[in-house]
């Protein structure tokens, strides 16, 4: 079945609609000096589709890019120079983690977890973030107590 292709197939109208949706997020992020241009957003949406395809996932809307932008705009490690690049990396990490945590963590909670690690133990390093989140996912799958702590929001157990 060509389901992923169908979901990700971008006719111009959908690309424009999604771009408009993400552009609205600039209203919130510009107070932190972070703004995405229409072209940057379009590039991100195209990357997102490739990432989803690579990870064997389908998505019904564009909410993840929007949420990542809204949550990470206050990070001390993001400025307008690395904003788009970081968001692109973060969306790849996000879908990777959705798979690795077997879809058991909600989008919002997962974005919060990624943010905690990024700003905290990883000090804004995307490389370190990937490795730490890998450990997180491994523990999440194998350790029932840890999994419970994640759902209950016991952040001190994550380190």
């Amino acid at each position: 079945m060509l389901l992923p292709q169908f979901f990700q197939s971008l006719d111009i109208s959908i690309l424009e609609k999604y771009t408009d949706e993400v552009l609205k997020v600039n209203e919130k992020t510009k107070q932190y000096g972070l703004v995405l241009t229409s072209n940057e957003i379009k590039d991100m949406i195209i990357s997102r589709n490739q990432i989803l395809y690579n990870y064997g996932r389908v998505e019904t809307d564009i909410s993840v890019i929007k949420e990542l932008a809204e949550v990470f705009c206050t990070s001390p490690y993001i400025d307008n120079k690395n904003y788009q690049l970081t968001l692109n990396e973060l969306q790849e990490i996000f879908y990777y983690m959705k798979n690795e945590t077997e879809d058991r963590i909600s989008d919002s909670q997962l974005v919060d977890i990624i943010r905690e690690y990024f700003d905290g133990v990883c000090g804004g390093s995307l490389e370190l973030l990937k490795s730490k989140l890998d450990e997180f996912a491994q523990r999440f799958r194998s350790d029932v107590r840890f999994r419970k702590s994640v759902f209950e929001g016991d952040e001190h157990l994550w380190d």
């Binding site: 389901l3 979901f7 064997g56 996932r57 389908v58 019904t60 809307d61 909410s63 989008d107």
Partner: protein, 478 residues
Amino acid sequence: MGLEKQHNDLLLVKQKKINNIQLLRNQYTISLLNVGLREGLLNSQEMYEVQIQLMQILKESIRRYTREESSSISSDVAEEILTSILYAVDAFLFQLGDPENAINFVKKNNMEITYEQGVKIVKDCLEETRALFKEIRNNKLDVAVDSYNITIDESIPLFLKKYEVVFDAHNTMASIDYPLAIDDMTIQGVYYLKQYLTYLKIETEFCQMFNQDDLRDLLVNYGRMCGFDYRIELFNIFELVLNNAVFSVLSGELPSRIRISVQQYKEIKNLFSNISDSQIQLIILEAVEKLLHHFNISDSLMSYYIKQCGINLAKRLKSVVKHNRLQTVVILEQELKTPPLTTFNASDRMSDHRFRLLIEKIMNCEKSVDKIDIIRTNFHSLHDYIDILNTDCLLNDEYEELFKTFGDVELAILTKIVFYEELRNNSIYLSSPNIRKREIESEWQDQFIKFINKIHPSRKSVIQQYVYEIDYEEISFY
């Protein structure tokens, strides 16, 4: 007048661009749209709109599936949900009957409506299936066939409990082991179960028309005929009953009498000697008609089902008659035998606690003779013996020492357990100098085979005789 109507019907069929033969029942909507597009009944824009509408339904379903907590899911899950959506859409469009009507409906209505109607139909089907199952459970046969009992007592209730109309309607995740005489396994989801139960109801009702002691004895004789434990094998009870009822008619008896004597068998054999294939089919179908009349079976589906099984029997008979193997189809009444005496006694099975204590005691013995003595003094049931053999608490020669203490009947019982598959396939002769088993399941079985191979041929033949005399149901182990 009748002929004129037939002619008009024929013209109508010719005028239709699609008929159901061109369509796949399991992918009805997809094949309907594809054939419709090919035949010009809908255009590519309409086809595209249908796909967009289906994707909208899928998006909504994904939102419900993730409880709006996730905007993405794995493609595999999405495909399962889409298949489930199409299952419901299929249900609705298929019941419209005429494929061209179905296409018109799709063109005039949003797929959302079709889907919602379809879900309702699937839900109704589930309710009908539940009611059907209730009838079957109330009318269940009292037989010791595990697959029949487990299917009715466990597998189907589990299916009915777990069946998911919205996200997994196409799934037939029940482990239904009991085989029907006729079964269309290409059908999926609750429609499969409904069909399965419809046929099972027919089979059960038919079997209930016979004397139930006769039926249970038929099963025992079937087990003897095949050299297996009928209780754990997969076979269809109805077919055995129907076949013997047909053979009863063919030997001049009433169809209600399913006990076939040696004399009757001779008559049946005579009947089939020098007979053509077409004659075989003819006499079987005649016998089936007599049977239907005898039991006053007027239900059209039941009589159709029985006739189809009669045709299947005729096909099988053509082959067995040709190869002179009629004895593999006719189940003969066998005389009741007195089971040989054995020291194994099922009622003397010990408690788990006592079993563990004795194992510990055996493990602490230094001398083999003491180990054997503890076993022979304390163990009585076959079940306990098999358990202790499986614990590997004996070493090498100790197995032989233990087997030496058994009598011929006990060794025959163990032989029937160790060589179950081989005896079932008639692929083993104990009298052979070096008997082997393809897959040895445990150390004790390996040691047992070595022991049996060392036995004097005269004793082996005595054991072999017992092997054929003891029925599996007499071994109170399973």
